[in-house]
Symmetry: C2
Subunit: 182 residues, 2 copies
C-alpha cells in the first residue's frame, strides 16, 4: 500500500510518499514540497497548490492520501492558508476517488514517537530511523508529510489488526457454541 502524506500550507506544502504493509518495513519513495510565491495573489497560489498536488498524484499513484487536520486554535494568519491549501489537497484526492484520511498533529506525533507532545526534531529523528535514512527528509514540511503517511499506514494497520482479531474472536465463539450444541 502506498500513501501520500500532505502537510498543507500555501508557502510550502509538504509531500511525502511511503510504501508499506502490515508487518513489513516501510520504504520512503519520495518527499518534497509544493511551493507558491508569497507575493502572488491567493487565486494563483491556490491554483499552484492544486497543480503541484496533481503532479504528485500523477507521478506516484498512491492508494490513499493522509492530510493534516487543521485546528483553528493555531496562529490565525497561518491557519487560514493551511485550511485553504488543505481543502485543495483533500479535493484533489477525493476527485480521483482516493480514500482521504485526516490526522491531527498529535495523532501523528503519538504514532511516530509514542508521545502526542513530541517536538519536530524528535519526530524527524524517528521518521529517519523508521525509514532507515541518514537524517529526516528536507525541508521540515516534507518530514511532517512523511510522518503523516507513516501514521496513516500504522493506524490503518492497527485498525486492520483489530478487525481481524474481532473476526477471529467471533469465529472461536461460534466454534465453541457448535461444539457445545448451543
Amino acid at each position: 500500500m502506498r500513501v501520500l502524506g500532505i502537510d498543507p500550507g500555501l508557502t510550502r506544502c509538504g509531500v511525502g510518499v511511503v510504501d508499506g504493509a502490515v508487518g513489513r518495513t516501510l520504504t520512503l519513495v519520495a518527499a518534497g514540497a509544493v511551493r507558491t510565491p508569497a507575493d502572488e495573489e491567493l487565486p494563483a497560489r491556490l491554483l499552484g497548490v492544486e497543480q503541484g498536488i496533481e503532479q504528485w498524484l500523477d507521478d506516484y499513484r498512491p492508494d490513499a492520501v493522509a492530510v493534516e487536520r487543521v485546528f483553528a486554535q493555531h496562529n490565525v494568519r497561518t491557519v487560514m492558508g493551511t485550511a485553504q491549501a488543505g481543502a485543495i489537497a483533500v479535493v484533489c484526492a477525493a476527485r480521483r476517488g482516493l480514500p482521504v484520511a485526516l490526522h491531527t498533529p498529535s495523532e501523528v506525533k503519538a504514532a511516530i514517537t509514542g508521545s502526542g507532545r513530541a517536538d519536530k526534531a524528535q519526530v524527524g529523528a524517528m521518521v529517519a530511523r523508521i525509514l532507515r535514512l541518514d537524517g529526516p527528509p528536507r525541508p521540515a514540511d516534507a518530514a511532517d508529510a512523511v510522518a503523516l503517511a507513516i501514521c496513516h499506514l500504522w493506524r490503518g494497520s492497527a485498525q486492520a489488526h483489530l478487525a481481524r482479531a474481532r473476526q477471529e474472536f467471533a469465529r472461536r465463539i461460534e466454534t465453541a457454541r457448535q461444539a457445545h450444541g448451543l
Copy 2:
C-alpha cells in the same frame, strides 16, 4: 458584464449571478445555494462544493467571480469550513482563467448600504431595491452572494471611473502643455 458572487460555506454556499455595466441598471440573473450534508465526511463535502460551483460556472458563464474574503477573527469553528469552501470556489474560477476578486464583508456592506456595519436585514433590503425585487433573495446566503456580485460590479465601475478620470486629466495636461509650447 456578468459577475458570480459566492458566499462560501460548507453547509450552505450562497451563489448569485448579476448582470451589469457602468451606468446601467443591474439585473439579477439567478441566486441560490450549494448545500452539502453536515453528516458527510469533509472530502465528500468539499467535492460537493466543487461540483456545485462548477455547475453554476457552466450554467451562467460569468466574466468574473467575487468571493467573500474570510477573516480568522470570526467564530473559529465556522471559519474553517468557510476558508475551505472559499478555497474551492477560488480555485474553480482560477482554473477557468476567470478574474477572482476577494471582498471583505464590510466592503460589501459599505458598497451596498453606505455603512460597513450594516446588518443583514439592511443589506437584504438594499439588494432587493437595487435589483427591483419584491424581497431579498432567499436563502440569506444567496442574498449575501448577490450583494458580493453587486459590490464587485460597483467597485469595478468605480475603479474604471477613476482610471478614465486619470486618463482624461493626463490628456488635458498634455493638451495644455502643447498649447503653451511646454
